[in-house]
Symmetry: C2
Subunit: 339 residues, 2 copies
């Protein structure tokens, strides 16, 4: 990393941002390595967990960096999962109106999703990622080796996004994931490398067609409108990837009910997710009406109608240029959730 940093993100002072779980594993050793290499580096740690992806954490990290004398010629290195890359990215985006950023994702989800596409942000009481900015990193350093320390539930949560990539853009990739579910779940090196590369390819292709999410990039929200509402109503006890897995099944059923999605898609998707050890049913006790209403504060709302990214069939997003999302009436959502 020191060599790549010198050539691709030169800075007077590196601010490594990491959470309390990942810092001792990777951030502190990385900082020591940079210092041994003659670079100036400090580590800034926040308490791990999605509930800490807040404006308060953002303000504390910013103030600590200011107190450490980091200036406009500083560079933020985010070392961690999606919470860290989102939060540290937002710190970099707003520090003295934007300083350079490098992402070192340590979770599968962050490697194939959160790190790709320039989105940064924090949660607020009204919902996830409602406060944020676009801020692209100088580069993303993906080292599959670090997945060795990733808890199993987190690894599987990342697989949900891989399934999503297949569902919206490449049916054969989704079939490959299912056919090799055992090797993928065992994290066999060749399979993990293939998965990471193919998922990044799909996401990067969509993002580079539409950096500011004015159009087709919305496809990446498949499963996320319901998914975010599940996360929020569960007070984030349901992990993001699990919520997205459930959300994809619900949204595929919604699409079928709307006549947008090929019948049978939801069932096939459900079996794929189950093969990869992911949940597909709503957590018990979640009220369909409250869940439908909770989608209302999502960013995908336009003109007061909640708009969904739906698939036409597996491997193909539904829609055309200028109309990649679909307004769905609340009673249809409630009925689908109830079923």
């Amino acid at each position: 990393l020191p060599t790549v940093l010198r050539s691709h993100a030169p800075a007077h002072h590196f601010a490594i941002i990491s959470d309390s779980n990942v810092a001792p594993l990777y951030a502190l050793p990385l900082s020591d390595r940079l210092v041994r290499d003659g670079l100036r580096s400090d580590v800034f740690i926040f308490e791990a967990g999605e509930p800490n992806k807040t404006r308060a954490s953002w303000a504390s990290l910013t103030d600590a960096m200011l107190a450490a004398g980091i200036g406009r010629d500083g560079c933020v290195i985010a070392v961690g999962g999606g919470v860290t890359t989102d939060l540290a990215g937002f710190v970099a985006a707003t520090f003295m109106r934007g300083i350079s950023l490098v992402l070192v994702p340590t979770s599968l989800l962050a490697m194939i999703d959160a790190s790709i596409g320039g989105k940064t942000g924090v949660d607020s009481p009204a919902g996830k990622n409602l406060v944020g900015a676009f801020h692209f990193p100088r580069f993303v350093a993906v080292d599959p080796d670090v997945l060795r320390t990733l808890p199993d539930a987190d690894y599987r949560a990342g697989l949900a996004e891989a399934v999503k990539h297949g569902a919206i853009a490449d049916a054969s990739y989704m079939n490959w994931l299912v056919a090799n579910a055992v090797a993928v779940l065992r994290r066999d090196v060749g399979f993990v490398d293939t998965l990471i590369l193919r998922s990044i390819e799909i996401k990067a292709a969509l993002v580079s067609r539409d950096e500011r999410e004015a159009g087709i990039r919305a496809a990446l929200n498949f499963g996320h409108t319901i998914g975010h509402a599940i996360e929020r109503l569960s007070n984030f006890t349901v992990p993001h990837g699990h919520a997205v897995a459930i959300g994809m099944v619900v949204e595929a059923r919604l699409g079928e009910a709307e006549g947008v999605t090929l019948p049978g898609t939801a069932s096939t998707l459900q079996r794929a997710l189950e093969a990869l050890g992911l949940p597909v049913a709503l957590p018990p006790g979640l009220d369909p009406l409250r869940l439908a209403q909770a989608t209302g504060s999502d960013k995908k709302v336009r003109s007061n109608l909640v708009r969904y990214a739906l698939v036409a069939r597996l491997g193909e997003i539904a829609g055309t240029e200028g109309a990649w999302t679909h307004a769905v009436a609340t009673d249809r959502v409630v009925a689908t959730l109830g079923a």
Copy 2:
């Protein structure tokens, strides 16, 4: 405004952000006008004053807009002085990763300075504007008529930036300001219009050469390194424009001491500022060493040396491409301040 908004910043919902002084004068009437015209509009008010240009105000405004159901297709209209355009601009920059923004400056300073160039941000305990983002407005609506309600001290504070524009880019403009000081101070319509247009031309030309302030845009910081430190040490009791006026004289003297600035420049500049009713001496009781140290947390710091934008002579910034700022040793700053 309704017509221009429809063509240049179409939105489902307008969020007019204004402070407690300006809201009753201009924001509430504007909102009524938009509603009468069939547009959806709400007014969001924060307590007037630079001490309220904070992350806390930013968070409250954001949460109020979220509670009002404003989405990505919303548009922020900032109505007020520089505090309002900076703060409301930062709300727009970070609301759902950036929504459209329109600026309606109501102070001279905001018209010729804060509204031009895409800078948004808030203050933090460590200094002014250390937290922020670049976010350009769809358009800026400047109506010189609103200056009728601007208090005299605020009007004169705006003149300091006009003098700066002359000092860094156009000596004849600065001479015009001094020669017509009486008419300018009386706010005679023709003179005010000329001043606003010429200042916006100068600032816009510099900004469009260097949107992200990587180079020559730094010229606009002339007077601001010392100026910001004066503001902060006075707990913002010295208005921005007054602090900049004093800062320009100090920085001209610094430039003379460094051999960068033509001897006599500081005295001429001082007389010009005095003719326009602006302060040119440090507030009593301000310790030179503390003031010099207070410049250390400014964004213009690079590699731990405070860097100043200096003039070669009146009407001409000192420097060349790639080197528009000058590192000045702290003891030189202390000596100049002491004198």
